[in-house]
């Protein structure tokens, strides 16, 4: 089954970012086809240069970089957010790909289960 997760929160401000990502990992561990879209502020979760030391939280990038190990290869951000938040592709982890609004829309149409956090 195709599971699409749409995240909208940044990495460290709210526990839902990490816990929802764990849910996505669990879906992949149960052999579901998982796609992730890091929309709006969630694009910050994909920033390559992260320093979580002052937040006293585990580095978020550890999970982001582990996604391919769970066979999660469809990792996206929105091209529009990339310019809104001034985060060019080079600032983001290389496994994430840009989606146009049309591509996002067709990704949603093809998903069996959509959950947003």
């Amino acid at each position: 089954m195709k599971f699409l997760y749409i995240f909208t929160r940044s990495a460290y401000g709210n526990s839902i970012a990490r816990e929802a990502l764990d849910m996505a990992l669990a879906s992949a561990a149960f052999d579901q086809e998982v796609s992730l879209v890091f929309a709006q502020e969630a694009i910050y979760q994909l920033v390559m240069q992260q320093n979580s030391a002052n937040t006293e939280k585990k580095p978020h990038l550890g999970v982001i970089n582990a996604l391919p190990l769970y066979d999660i290869d469809d990792i996206y951000y929105l091209a529009e957010d990339s310019s809104t938040y001034n985060l060019p592709p080079a600032a983001l982890v290389p496994q994430a790909k840009a989606l146009s609004a049309e591509q996002f829309s067709s990704l949603m149409s093809s998903a069996d289960r959509i959950q947003s956090f």
Binding site: T8, E19, Q115
Partner: protein, 135 residues
């Protein structure tokens, strides 16, 4: 047509309307002849299972309402173990394992893993989440 629902509750009962909306949705679905495959309490939603929640007498107790619904319809109320332990919601077994000296999970709820939510998403006809994104 009768549908089965998987409900995800991620809002905590005192500050967020979400858990009450979930309760009302659940009741309405069951009263209309639909079924609820599972209710999964996740993130701050796990507070719905805290039996120590004691609102003033003229206010609704969310945990008691879920319990009543569980007793009437035997619905599966599962509390996410990792969300729950982080927030201090424990059953007798977890309390013993972590030597916590007490437990607060209400009867009628069970502790489970995210796999049970994934299973619910696969088995149910519809997946509905209750919880604001703004907390």
């Amino acid at each position: 047509m009768s549908l089965s629902f998987a409900l995800l509750v991620s809002g905590q009962p005192c500050t967020d309307q979400a858990s009450l909306s979930a309760l009302r949705f659940c009741k309405a679905a069951l009263d209309s002849g639909h079924s609820v495959y599972r209710v999964f309490f996740f993130n701050d939603g796990v507070h719905c299972a805290n039996r120590f929640i004691t609102p003033p007498q003229d206010e609704i107790s969310v945990p008691k309402q879920w319990q009543a619904l569980q007793q009437e319809f035997a619905i599966d109320l599962v509390v996410c173990v990792s969300s729950a332990l982080r927030r201090g919601i424990v059953d007798a077994k977890e309390a013993e394992r972590y030597e916590l000296g007490g437990h607060n999970m209400a009867d009628g709820f069970t502790i489970g893993g995210l796999g049970q939510w994934v299973d619910a998403c696969i088995q149910a006809d519809r997946v509905v989440r209750f919880g604001s994104n703004t907390q």
